[in-house]
């Protein structure tokens, strides 16, 4: 209020003003971070994507079985892991742990890493099954990771979706994704 006039008067302490602005700025950043930040996603085992994809040559659909027909790609369950890990694979401690966990009947519940806001309706079927998009388009180099990332590699927000839709000449109708 009357900032310039006050400066002209030269009686307002600069420290006072800049100090409070600084505090407001910091508080704003803290609030924004707290409100928007997502907690890290812990996984039951340290899954090595690169080993499974690049080295063993498994395709994504092997574990994410619903990727071409479901809304969600699906996460592997203990059964899928048991196919190979019933016996310990390799020498790593983690591989041994997987075998032990499976033997103990641990369900190995993997958690969704890429989560969309609940008001976004996305289906893998449409994007992967029908439009045949590549996984890395949205998931980045997830197949190259050697340990489970704690946070998504790509920030998928509305702009991200819209940019691609525009490029591809796809629908920009709100109803297409929000309902």
């Amino acid at each position: 209020m009357g900032g310039t006039a006050a400066d002209r008067g030269g009686f307002v302490r600069v420290r006072w003003v800049s100090g409070s602005f600084g505090v407001i700025l910091v508080a704003g950043i803290v609030i924004t971070v707290l409100v928007t930040a997502r907690p890290s996603v812990p996984q039951p085992v340290a899954f090595n994507h690169r080993k499974h994809t690049e080295e063993l040559g498994l395709n994504c659909e092997f574990c994410h079985v619903h990727v071409t027909k479901g809304a969600h790609a699906g996460l592997p369950d203990a059964q899928t892991c048991t196919m190979c890990h019933q016996a310990a694979q390799g020498t790593s401690a983690e591989a041994t742990r997987v075998t032990t966990l499976l033997a103990e009947g641990d369900p190995l519940t993997f958690k969704k890493l890429f989560r969309l806001e609940p008001h976004v309706f996305y289906t893998h079927r449409r994007h992967v099954g029908i439009a045949e998009l590549e996984c890395e388009n949205c998931h980045g180099a997830i197949a190259q990771t050697v340990r489970p990332p704690a946070r998504p590699l790509v920030t998928i927000d509305m702009d991200f979706c819209m940019d691609c839709h525009r490029e591809q000449g796809q629908t920009l109708d709100c109803n297409a994704c929000h309902r």
């Binding site: 809304a71 806001e117 609940p118 008001h119 309706f121 289906t123 079927r125 449409r126 099954g129 029908i130 109708d173 709100c174 109803n175 297409a176 929000h178 309902r179």
Partner: protein, 227 residues
């Protein structure tokens, strides 16, 4: 581009309300408590309205199933300050719940009263959540909601058609109320497509549109009772 519309034959509607319940089931419309209902806060995107005339024994009663009219010139979308309600290219008036600020201006602007407000968050018990439709969001407290012509079904139908490499057929996309109607009183399709039933029915001499004089150009047509 399709222009979706609906024709409701008042001669065929028996007021059984299957459409109402099918709509609630399809679109996760929660029932409210007794107290809330008494206050007039129940939601029913599709509502069967009764129109009674005359006294015993010369009474007549007709049932008007009333969904959103999906006007071509909707008064609701103009007044929305945040573009949370809009009309898409195919004439479906949508409501973006994630953007709505809950000012209820659209509800007041709609002469058909088809906009419903979530006074509280929906009351689903843990068990009831099992039957929620995953294709449709569960609206939070404080936003307006309304009939969408089961727009998600169009998405699905189009997806299926594309997956099978064919054109969208009339029967692929039918809203839940149309699907369930035991007397086929509700007919739905593309008003601009001559092969769809609604295309010819909309020019039937019995046709009546609610409050047509307001210039809203509703895309829900009623077929006047014959007698």
């Amino acid at each position: 581009m399709a222009r979706w519309g609906m024709v409701i034959d008042l001669d065929r509607c028996t007021g059984c309300a299957a459409c109402e319940v099918a709509c609630k089931s399809e679109n996760n419309v929660a029932a409210v408590s007794v107290e809330q209902a008494d206050m007039g806060r129940a939601s029913s995107w599709m509502k069967v309205m009764a129109h009674v005339e005359g006294e015993f024994p010369d009474t007549t009663m007709h049932f008007y199933p009333r969904p959103c009219m999906h006007c071509d010139n909707p008064p609701c979308i103009r007044v929305c300050p945040v573009q949370a309600t809009y009309i898409d290219d195919e004439g479906i008036v949508g409501q973006i719940y994630a953007r709505c600020i809950g000012c209820r201006y659209c509800a007041n602007a709609c002469p058909y009263m088809v906009k419903y407000f979530n006074w509280y968050g929906p009351e689903w018990s843990e068990a009831e959540r099992q039957h929620l439709n995953p294709d449709v969001s569960v609206r939070p407290a404080g936003v307006i909601e309304k009939c969408t012509f089961c727009h998600h079904r169009l998405q699905k139908a189009r997806e299926d058609a594309r997956a099978e490499g064919r054109e969208l057929r009339e029967e692929d996309y039918q809203p839940a109320c149309v699907d369930v109607c035991p007397t086929n009183a509700i007919i739905f399709g593309d008003l601009d497509n001559p092969s769809h039933a609604v295309h010819t029915l909309k020019d039937d001499p019995r046709v009546l549109r609610l409050m047509e004089d307001l210039g809203t150009q509703p895309k829900v047509y009623y077929l006047r009772p014959r007698d």
